[in-house]
Amino acid sequence: MSTMRGSSLAYLIRRLAMFALTIWLGLTLMFLIPRMAPGDPIAAMVARISSQAGRVENSEQMIQAWRTRFGLDAPLYQQYGRYLWNSLHFDLGYSMAYFPMKVEDLVRAGMPWTLALLSIATVLSFLVGSTLGALMGWPASPRALRLVLPAALCFTSIPPFMLGILLIYVFAFGLRWFPFAGAYAHEFPPGRNLDFVFSAVHHGILPATAIVVTTMGFWALGMRAMMVTTSGEDYMILAQAKGLRPRRLFWMYGVRNAILPQVTSLALSIGGIAGGSVLVEYIFTYPGMGYLLYQGIVNNDYALIQGMTSILIIGVATAVLIVDLAYPLLDPRIRRGDL
């Protein structure tokens, strides 16, 4: 019992260290791998941009900005240091395709859409999926329910963006219930009015559905397994003997324990979900970070690509950190003990 305070401090330190490490690793991989590839990709890239320069007015200025940003003449370790420093300060430079806009401004425009879509879809999928899984793994669930539910999981093996294409075809192209693309109708520009909100929700339903439906099954499966394990535990048998109401048994003894590994699992899969949503945004032309990233790729806008991905890596690491720090609130063994 004397180890309590020590252990939660150690937990905090561990999580913060992981947070820093994740960001550093992600940024470093992005820096190193293109440079390790055969040939000189940066030089090739600059040449490619130069050849297209005729179209752009301030091409010289832009290439120069690009060169300065990466300090291509400097030794590698200096380039690396500057790159890390700039990324961590959100000093992302100018976009080449949207010059003279700063990458920072583009991020600011795309971020809210991605944040909203992703967080709502992830939370929804986690909650709905876990509840379904809990019901599937609960011995006292009606038999019919346990047979019907797996049918809801048949979308699990489909990637979100492929379901997105399907949804567009059926609900936007075929039935015309929802719009094809975008995040809101142009006649209702962003503002504090109901028209805009309705329009945004109307546009968001299909992309969100694509993410929720395809990831839900993962949570359901994990939860089902944990619930089966939990329902065989001794404390569950004792709780049954105590004559608790089934609802209390299910939530406070079953779900409350089974959800713990799910939260760990959530922290681990945020990165994957974020990656998948990039493709969903691309399919739906949804003006978030993912779509901007795609724009960067199409336009050879390397500043934009670098900036977007740095922000995405830091953002995902932050989300993971938040989930990790919330975990001790659910598990007293971490909060107060020495697990």
Partner: protein
């Protein structure tokens, strides 16, 4: 009790599906002219045989192209036959490398412990949370021309930590088992304990990791290809989808253009998914509800 306990309906169904897909890739070129997967080898925009064209700008279906053709004049059946094995191959390469590296690191971390173990564990935990697809997008946007193999290698970069985690956790729990101590008392070396005592018991977990990883890597590869970042000269299912999206196939009602590659991928994913959960049930007998526990 005549059926071995590891035989499982999901496992059988999944394996059948995957076997079918592999056979299609292997035998397809013998029964169908795969040169039709090249641009401009066929009439444009034909719907699959037996379906009427979505509108008047389309030609009627032809028996010569039973699954239709797309806007660049590729035969869809030929595209599927040539693309499917390529997509499977990328996934398998990445998963194979990932599983080998992951198992080695996981076993080492779990069995050796110490600072090496901690390093391996921390690194794999960190890499797992990095949005790998995003990093891969950046990398492949720098490295424009890429072969199937290098794509597999690139994906393998992020394919090992999951396995490492699983193997590490399992090794930790197995390491304390009596039989590991017994093997040590019988004079077995650490290496031989890892290979002959631990590895056989990890097989179901590794198999589940492998199939899940093949699936995940095909998804990642397809995602990159859909963004136009894959190998541009080799036909893959992801490239077909990418062409379809860019060719506005959805708005033109050409469902076969994107639908067939997606259907094929879903078939592969479903097969692998069934195998994975089947193997999971083999590895965790507790999921096999019916056996119950006699008190």
């Amino acid at each position: 009790m005549s059926v071995p306990s590891w035989i499982n309906a999901k496992l059988v169904a999944g394996s059948t599906v995957i076997l079918f897909v592999v056979m299609l890739g292997l035998l397809g070129p013998w029964i169908w002219d795969t040169t039709q997967a090249r641009v401009a080898s066929c009439p444009l925009n034909l719907p699959p045989y037996g379906f009427s064209p979505p509108n008047l700008t389309f030609q009627p279906a032809q028996l010569a192209h039973p699954l239709g053709t797309e806007s660049s004049g590729r035969d869809m059946l030929a595209v599927l036959i040539t693309g499917t094995p390529n997509s499977l191959l990328v996934g398998t390469i990445a998963a194979g490398i990932g599983i080998v590296i992951g198992t080695l690191l996981g076993l080492t971390a779990g069995f050796m412990g110490g600072w090496v173990g901690t390093l391996i564990r921390v690194m794999s935990d960190a890499i797992i949370t990095i949005p790998s697809l995003v990093v891969l997008i950046v990398i492949s946007s720098y490295v424009r021309e890429i072969s199937l193999t290098s794509m597999g290698l690139l994906l393998a970069l992020f394919a090992w930590p999951g396995t490492t985690r699983t193997v590490y956790a399992q090794t930790l729990s197995l390491r304390e088992r009596g039989y590991v101590q017994m093997a040590r008392l019988s004079g077995a070396s650490t290496l031989s304990i890892m290979v002959f005592e631990l590895l056989p018991n990890l097989m179901p977990y590794l198999a589940a990791c492998f199939t899940a990883s093949v699936s995940g890597n095909i998804l990642a590869a397809t995602g990159l290809e859909a963004l136009g970042l894959g190998p541009s000269r080799i036909p893959t299912l992801g490239m077909a989808i990418s062409n379809a999206v860019r060719g506005a196939a959805i708005l033109r009602g050409m469902w076969w253009w994107w639908g067939l590659p997606i259907a094929m991928l879903i078939l592969i994913f479903s097969g692998l998914f069934l195998i994975t959960i089947g193997l999971d049930e083999v590895a965790n007998p507790r999921l096999r509800r019916s056996e119950g526990n006699a008190r």
